[in-house]
């Protein structure tokens, strides 16, 4: 009996100890699992962050490359950098002829954004020290070198990222942090840099596109639009005038005896005359008017919302202004005059070709009338 009791006691003791052992193992395992789950959570969070970053970069790259306008690209760069590093004042400066100009700003960290003096800010041209690599300034109040960058009153730390294309600095991206003691993290600089790099390519493409577009529509000597641009734009003006039944007038200007000017005073003087006449035309016409160098010494205009008598007044102004210009070449003073033809669009049934033809005929008539005068043919 006692042997049986001993056996049961031993057995019970073994089972008790086994349970204890199992509990210990379970505890160790659960601790291991907890650590693992924390690691997993950390990894998952990092992966999610990376995924968001990639998505943001993709969206940004698409936005940059689908645009051919530098200020639109700069706006998108500001917006996406602000999104990526959230809560900072972001600015984009682009190189102009004589310095750098702020073309876009996004402010989410500062109470009242730059609205207070945005206009004056964007008109200002900054002379930055050229930076070739990104810089993070810990405390803009204490930093000795600001590279001539201007920061907002509330700014504490800042980063400056050059926008470069083939090692040429085309602008700068700056991000400013108003909270004392908070620096830009490495990851924030990295993503801002990635956005800046891609935007720089798009900005350069857009700049070249705008340059080519301007070249293809501008007369290089006078800076006025060329005939190609006139023909394309005139068609749009004409269609709008027909659709809305609004007045539209054409004006042709031809410099009198221009060949004589060239022959007597030389081609350089002839070129000067053309330039000055073009300047006078720009000065005395409105922004919505179309003005182009149409031929050698001939300029053509379209005036929307303008009837023939109003166009006549503009032509008279131009005629007087040109006639009053003083010229001097080879020590001799001379005068230049011009003849003008005016025509007005007749609704309905008129055509662009007919409008220009009538204008040309009026100009011919002005020449016949002794030049330096305006003739209207409706």
């Amino acid at each position: 009996m006692s042997e049986e009791l001993n056996l049961l006691r031993r057995r019970f003791e073994r089972e008790r100890l086994a349970r204890k052992q199992a509990e210990n193992i379970a505890e160790v395992k659960s601790r291991e699992l907890f650590v693992k789950s924390q690691e997993l959570e950390k990894t998952a969070k990092a992966e999610l962050k990376a995924k968001h970053e990639i998505e943001l970069l993709l969206r940004a790259f698409e936005a940059f490359t689908s645009r051919l306008n530098t200020s639109e690209i700069a706006d998108h760069l500001c917006r996406y950098v602000d999104k990526a590093i959230s809560g900072h004042n972001v600015s984009v400066y682009l190189r102009k002829e004589n310095g750098f100009q702020a073309v876009s700003q996004k402010n989410s960290a500062f109470g009242d954004p730059l609205g207070r003096n945005r206009a004056s800010f964007s008109e200002k041209i900054f002379q930055f020290t050229e930076l070739t690599a990104s810089v993070v300034i810990e405390n803009v109040r204490q930093a000795e070198v600001h590279h001539n960058f201007r920061f907002w009153d509330d700014t504490h730390s800042a980063m400056i990222i050059p926008l470069s294309y083939q090692r040429r600095i085309i602008g700068y991206l700056t991000a400013e942090n108003p909270i004392k003691g908070t620096l830009f993290e490495e990851a924030q600089v990295r993503i801002a840099q990635a956005l800046a790099n891609e935007a720089a390519i798009a900005l350069e493409n857009a700049r070249l596109f705008q340059k080519v577009e301007k070249l293809s529509t501008t007369d290089p000597l006078t800076g006025a639009h060329n005939r190609r641009y006139f023909d394309e734009t005139a068609r749009k003006f004409f269609k709008l005038s027909v659709r809305h039944n609004r007045a539209l007038s054409a004006l042709m200007l031809d410099i009198d005896y221009f060949k004589k000017v060239n022959d007597t005073y030389g081609h350089d003087t002839g070129d000067e005359v053309l330039k000055k006449v073009a300047q006078t035309c720009r000065r005395l016409t409105r922004e919505q008017d179309l003005c182009a160098r149409y031929g050698g010494e001939e300029f053509c205009f379209l005036f929307p919302e303008t009837n023939a008598s109003e166009a006549f007044i503009i032509a008279e102004k131009l005629r007087t202004a040109i006639a009053e210009l003083d010229w001097e070449a080879n020590g001799r003073n001379f005068f230049v005059t011009a003849s003008f033809g005016v025509s007005e669009c007749v609704h309905p049934g008129d055509s662009m070709e007919s409008l220009i033809k009538r204008c040309d005929e009026a100009l011919y008539a002005a020449k016949g009338k002794g030049r330096n005068c305006v003739v209207t043919k409706t």
């Binding site: 056996l7 031993r10 057995r11 073994r14 086994a18 052992q21 199992a22 193992i25 395992k29």
Partner: protein, 180 residues
């Protein structure tokens, strides 16, 4: 060796012999673990060798027979505890063929450090299964018992032939074919 094997071994002795027998065995074996086993623990495989050797002396049964019986017993317990492994499986050859690819894969998920045997299966002819068993523990008798348990579970009449492989002393080839 996984604790579950020890726990099942002691339980088999309890059921097939008596609890006195398991008690005597543990007492006489003087094991480092003291014979205190939990299924979630891991123990020195040498303890199993001692236990089987001593059980053989106590019961006057050859070690090989004991291991085969234990294999059959383990298979039954396996069926009871893990019915999911048998869903959609209708023959022992089907089951045995996927021990490595499925069962052991699942075991590995729970016990990354488990030192599992491998069962390399080929079917040179239909109804003929070659199973190459290889294990660090080198317990072909236990493996044979498990295969027997499997055949019994499916109620089939298959015979098992065993062939040692001279080129690999840790491996044994089981040839499973129809008939008794």
């Amino acid at each position: 060796m996984k604790g579950v094997v020890f726990v099942e071994f002691i339980e088999m002795i309890d059921t097939s012999f008596s609890i006195e027998m398991s008690d005597r065995l543990i007492e006489m074996s003087d094991l480092p673990s003291g014979g205190i086993y939990t299924s979630v623990g891991t123990y020195d495989p040498k303890e199993m060798v001692t236990l089987v050797g001593n059980l053989s002396s106590l019961t006057q049964t050859p070690v090989s027979d004991l291991l085969k019986s234990f294999g059959r017993y383990l298979f039954k317990r396996f069926v009871e505890n893990f019915p999911d492994f048998f869903k959609g499986i209708t023959s022992s050859i089907d089951f045995l063929s996927q021990v490595d690819s499925y069962v052991h894969l699942e075991v590995r998920k729970l016990y990354q450090d488990a030192e599992l045997p491998t069962f390399e299966c080929t079917t040179p002819e239909p109804d003929l299964l070659h199973m190459k068993y290889e294990s660090k523990r080198n317990l072909p008798d236990l493996a044979e018992g498990l295969i027997l348990g499997c055949i019994e579970h499916f109620g089939e009449s298959l015979k098992i032939a065993r062939k040692s492989l001279p080129e690999n002393p840790l491996a044994t080839l089981f040839i499973i074919s129809p008939g008794n």
